[in-house]
Amino acid sequence: MATFTQHLRARGEDGLAALLAARPDLASPPPASVRSLAARVANRGSVERALATVDAGVLTVLEAVLALDGVAGAPDPSGVPLPRLAHATGGDLDTTARAVDQALGLALLWTEPDAPRTGGRSATPSSTLVHPAPGLEDALGPYPAGLGPRLVATLARRAPQALEGLTADVGAPEPDAAVTTVEALAAHLADPETAQRLLADAPPGARAVLDALAWGPPVGRSPAAGNDQGPGRAAVEWLLRHGLLAVGDPQHVVLPREVALALRAGRTHREPPLAPSPHGRSTPLATVDAESARAAEDAVRLVAATVAAWGAEPPPVLRAGGLGSRELRRLAARLDVTDAVAALVVEVAGSAGLVAEDGEDPPSFAPTTSADDWLRLELPERWEALVEAWLASERAPWLVGTRDERGGLRAALDPETRRPWAPRLRRTVLEVLAAAGTESLPAGLAAEEVHDVLRWRSPRSAPPLHAVEAVLTEAGLLGILGAGATSTAARALVVGHADGGTGHPGGGDGHAVAGAHPGGGDGGPGADPGPARTPAAALAGQLPPPVDEVLLQGDLTGIVPGRPSPALADVLERMAHVESRGAGLTVRFTEASIRSALDLGRTAEDLLAELSRHARTGVPQPLEYLVLDVARRHGRVRIGVASSYLRAEDPALLAGLVEDRSLRALGLVRLAPTVIAAQAPPVALLAALRERGLAPVTEDATGTVVVAAPDVHRVRAPRGQRRAQPGTAARQAPSAEEARDRRLRRVAKDLLRADQAENAVIARGGTQGPDGTGDGDGPDGGTGSGTPDPVLALALLREAAAEGREVWLEIVGPAGTTTRRRVRPLRVDEGRVRAVDAEREAELTVAVHRIAGVAPA
């Protein structure tokens, strides 16, 4: 029989590269050899990560393989043929083959190297025997599919005499020379007919006991010994005596796996796992698109408003990082939204690299230079930049305002407020929604329905329901969804990501499941062959045509009967404040709003001209009067900048100073006959006037007013956060993917080359191949030739444990000295190795970090 390592080697360059692509954690850093790759594949963390990416269908098959591998009575001592799997899981052969293929792709299962396999596209032939990969059992637990230990294991615990008795009791044939008593007994008991026959004579209750344990969990509490003489106890004792139950520990009995399988009629699962395909509530695309466009516009507006607000007045960064809740509330009040929406807005702005810490002391959040580029874009492009950033972001805005484990309030923009799985969750949620309904009649799904699908897709790493809810809410607020369903632009967004490669913006999170999901109605929108529209272009198509006119009314309101054109929006934004948004826009002109427009340097004539340009029905008299009236009063009080001033009781003293050409450098301005302001600092003024023969003295600072124009703060965007030009992400994605493929292929090639070299060295040294089919001669004394690579060492230990071989273990003692022992590893788990030292007849448990090296014995 071949080993897992051989299987990996037999995958060849293409197969290894595909594996590295499917499980990216294996490739970084690049493993040194196929053996160390095998070790990494079997590493529990890596197996868990791979399991997190498989759907319930694949998981079912994995459980079945694990449960059926090596059971007694099967025609093959190890490995499971496909038809058996299909029968056990209740699925059809095709579905099962596809699931097996997928698991093979992830190296969660393996086949004999000579078994035909063509790397993914065609299903595995039904004659192939599939084996569970090492590490799978650790990850899936001791009772796969609720099945207990194998008969061989339970029987091996009985004393030899007891076995003989049992053989007689159950009428098993005498073992011949080729098999042991245990094996013969196990094979006999595993036969469904045996159980049937035995149970015919069983005491009452025995059947009930078995039925209770048959579908798991396989462990039951033993009836209390001694006082209970009831039928339950009798039944259990009878079952124990006939090998249909086994003693687990003094308090518990377990149902052996083969017996359970016989009771389950060979099934590991009651019913085939079916992918949920929720239908949701469909909404006309026009409504969905209109609503998503409206929300998109709103989201962009809120982000722009945040950039503007923070540009003028950057809020401080909390000492622990993030934005204080008071600042968040202030922003929310300013944007007229709830705190939660404000949190999303700043998080999206942060993810898009539009705002960042300015690095000053004390630090503040300020718009970045990229924000200026972003502000120059049109609405659809701005939106695309925001949603792309949101989609790729690990930030978890829904956590803002909740308490962390230590009871602290989670702040927006706090570096800790993130979830590494957020990007994957967002993408999958959008994919699930995109698959609901049709393109022309999209459907909205409840969070629970989406959650069901996600649970099917990755049962081992289903996201919490509240996160799904949060993602749906966020997608709605950002205008990706409209009325809870997928808009045209969102479809472009999802399709773009599906076509543009996996493009893991989140980093090392494994998300690459090749092939369609079996039986799922979520084949995705892959059928769309049309030219890929960018999300921005799609959104542009969703927006209603802009309206360039406003109806101004005598009650000082203005109404835009539609979506205002950018020019009109700009005029109204400046001169009025908004009362109601939606399909149309209602604004109100007030004294304050007109004043702030005047503050921006406009004159009343400018404002009225701008208004009448857009006003279909003219500017009503009250509004015109308001503008003129506010302008009349505007600027009657003046504020200026001066560095110093001169004042004198006697105007004659100051006469002539302003006009004096020699004092021009001082920048003197007469404010009143007795007051002159100067641009020069007091010291310079003092010196100049002394020189001129005046005898000035400086006053103390009270009363001097220095008015500084508000600065507009900008910082450089941090590396990696700079916003790419919209659309470039999608366009660059294929080439990025090619580059990754090239890299992985190079890693695979190096691997195989290193492997050959290693094997050559081993062959020259006369040691057996690493697959260790025979006894090695011991390692050369004391030089520590064993592998020091801990991952490889663990793999060696695991393989040795699985095959019952011995290894040389170099152990670092508490004093730092190294001892070498020849041991047979039993189990590698939870950072410890349990092994038997045959020579000293002792069992030992060694912490993994004390193992300095492992070599095949």
Partner: protein, 547 residues
């Protein structure tokens, strides 16, 4: 996307472009369920509120109709959440019903058991409900009928009151339609009210609300209690009823500070009903003095809180509220809804003006620049004195004189807040003055003289805000008001809006001191009128002489 006249905003406002050809049809279609918020010249703003939607349910409209109307007239796709919200809100009305049970009397009957459970568990209903008869019915203490309705509305499950009304003591009342007849909208208002049982009719000032009341009485044919704002108004009701109905003087009683008559038709003032002596309302017995078949509330938007509480006990009697606006400065519209009843009829001012039943009005704000001395005094005044200082600026007297001079042939009312200012003005104009201190007899004499044209200029304080019928007044000049009260402005405008014999335009002037709180309050007051479509022009006092 249709080219409809309506834009539905996500914040539940509806924008109706009135120059659109389908605007009139759309207005008719949305009027039953949407509250008109603003009706300026180009785009009217309506709002969907729970009360409005429940009003519609009470009038027999259902959510499907509402949704269909929105979809039919909307120019852009209607926000999905809004449609869902409409359906959900409307579905809440009438899940609970108040029924009259042949054995147990008044019972609360649930069409939705879960709602009943929720309501029963609420602490607010404690003490209002009696024993539970079965899964769906609970006895209601008859005295708590109104209170319960209020509470259920607050809980968001407005109850449909099907328990009916006591017939009341019958009393023959006929409209005497010689030389006049009820206008179509008045007749419609009476029918809508009678069909609905109880409720509120909203008509603009000058549209003849008294006649709607008279019509309702003629329909009811029972003894009637009429609650009005003040004594003058009570007298006008009496005069109008004598003139328009078969009622004689002996059948109409006045229950006021001055007189305490209880007759088949009794007119009482809010003030006398809310008079307390040692914490006890001394005139409550009036409510039970007769077996009233109909209770009329004039100026519902001014109804004081104690009257609400008393009304809670009158739920078995038919109630009709009359008002020019449902806007209450105190925001208690929901109590009007639950205690008096849903809105049964309304017609916007401009519609009635267009039909020629009220005079068109020209509203002008005259801005007066204060002289420097006054400005300095104003700038340094204590905040609480600022309004008085600005409102009673001496310069206003000259402006009023100029305005009066512009209308030599019209009947002119000068209305103000501050007595010393009014006295000064009365002096200047050589016109009689009516204030709260003027006796009722003197007031009536002066009003009568004004009506006949004997007196053409009248200076009045806020006593003339309400229910003073001065049909020939064509010009009103407001020199000061109660701060920013919106409905006061509407009432004052209403004084001059009776249609004139020769179809003249009415003129309403507000004289305002520039750059002061006076101007701010004026802006606030005017908002209501501007929203009703009466836009103000603003002119400078300096231009007045020239103009």
């Amino acid at each position: 996307m249709t080219d409809g006249p309506l834009i539905v905003q996500s914040d539940k406002t509806l924008l109706l472009e009135i120059d659109h050809e389908a605007a009139a049809a759309c207005r008719r279609a949305i009027a039953p369920f949407a509250e008109l918020e603003r009706a300026p010249e180009h785009v009217h703003t309506y709002r969907l509120t729970p009360l409005g939607l429940w009003n519609a349910r009470a009038a027999g409209h259902d959510a499907e109709q509402v949704v269909a109307v929105l979809l039919e007239y909307s120019r852009y796709p209607v926000p999905h959440s809004l449609l869902v919200d409409v359906a959900e809100t409307m579905a809440r009305y009438g899940r609970l019903q108040l029924l009259s049970h042949p054995v147990h009397g008044l019972v609360l009957h649930a069409l939705d058991r879960a709602v009943l459970e929720e309501v029963l568990r609420s602490r607010r209903t404690a003490g209002l409900l009696g024993t539970r008869l079965d899964d769906d019915d609970v006895v209601v203490h008859p005295s708590e009928r109104g209170h319960l309705k209020q509470v259920l509305l607050k809980l968001g499950w407005p109850v449909e009151d099907l328990a009916g009304y006591v017939d009341g003591e019958a009393h023959p009342i006929e409209l005497d339609e010689t030389g006049w007849s009820l206008r179509p909208y008045q007749r419609q208002a009476v029918e809508s009210f009678w069909h609905g049982g109880s409720g509120v009719v909203v008509l603009p000032c000058g549209a003849g609300k008294t006649l709607v009341g008279a019509g309702a009485m003629a329909q009811s044919q029972t003894t009637t209690l009429i609650l009005v704002t003040n004594t003058v108004s009570a007298r006008q009701w009496r005069d109008e009823l004598l003139r328009r109905t078969s009622l004689t003087e002996d059948e109409i009683g006045e229950y006021s500070g001055a007189r305490k008559e209880i007759r088949p038709v009794t007119i009482a003032t809010y003030q006398v009903l809310t008079t307390r002596r040692k914490g006890v309302y001394t005139h409550l017995e009036l409510l039970d003095a007769r077996d009233w078949g109909l209770i009329l509330y004039d100026e519902v938007h001014l109804l004081p809180a104690p009257i609400f509480r008393m009304t809670a006990d009158l739920q078995a009697r038919r109630r009709l509220g009359l008002t020019a606006t449902l806007v209450r400065e105190d925001g208690r519209e929901d109590e009007v809804f639950s205690l008096i009843g849903p809105k049964r009829f309304d017609a916007p001012w401009k519609d009635i003006e267009a039909q020629g039943y009220i005079a068109p009005a020209d509203c002008v704000e005259v801005r007066l620049t204060l002289p420097d001395g006054d400005r300095l005094a104003y700038a340094t005044a204590e905040p609480e004195d600022k309004y008085r200082l600005a409102a009673s600026a001496a310069g206003k007297n000259r402006v009023v004189e100029q305005l009066v001079a512009r209308h030599p042939d019209d009947q002119v009312l000068v209305i103000g807040q501050y007595l010393d200012q009014l006295e000064l003005l009365a002096d200047h104009l050589d016109a009689p003055l009516i204030t709260g201190a003027t006796t009722v007899r003197e007031r009536e004499r002066l009003f009568a003289a004004f009506r006949t044209g004997e007196v053409t200029r009248l200076v009045v304080s806020k006593v003339a805000n309400f229910s003073v019928d001065l049909p020939e007044a064509a010009v009103a000049i407001q020199v000061s008001g109660s701060f920013g009260s919106r409905q006061e402005e509407a009432q004052r405008l209403g004084r001059i809006m009776r249609p004139k014999a020769d179809g003249r335009t009415a003129h309403f002037y507000a004289v305002v001191s520039r750059d002061t709180v006076d101007q701010e309050f004026a802006a606030h007051r005017q908002r209501f009128l501007a929203e009703q479509g009466y836009a103000y022009r603003i002119i400078d006092a300096e231009d007045l002489v020239a103009g």
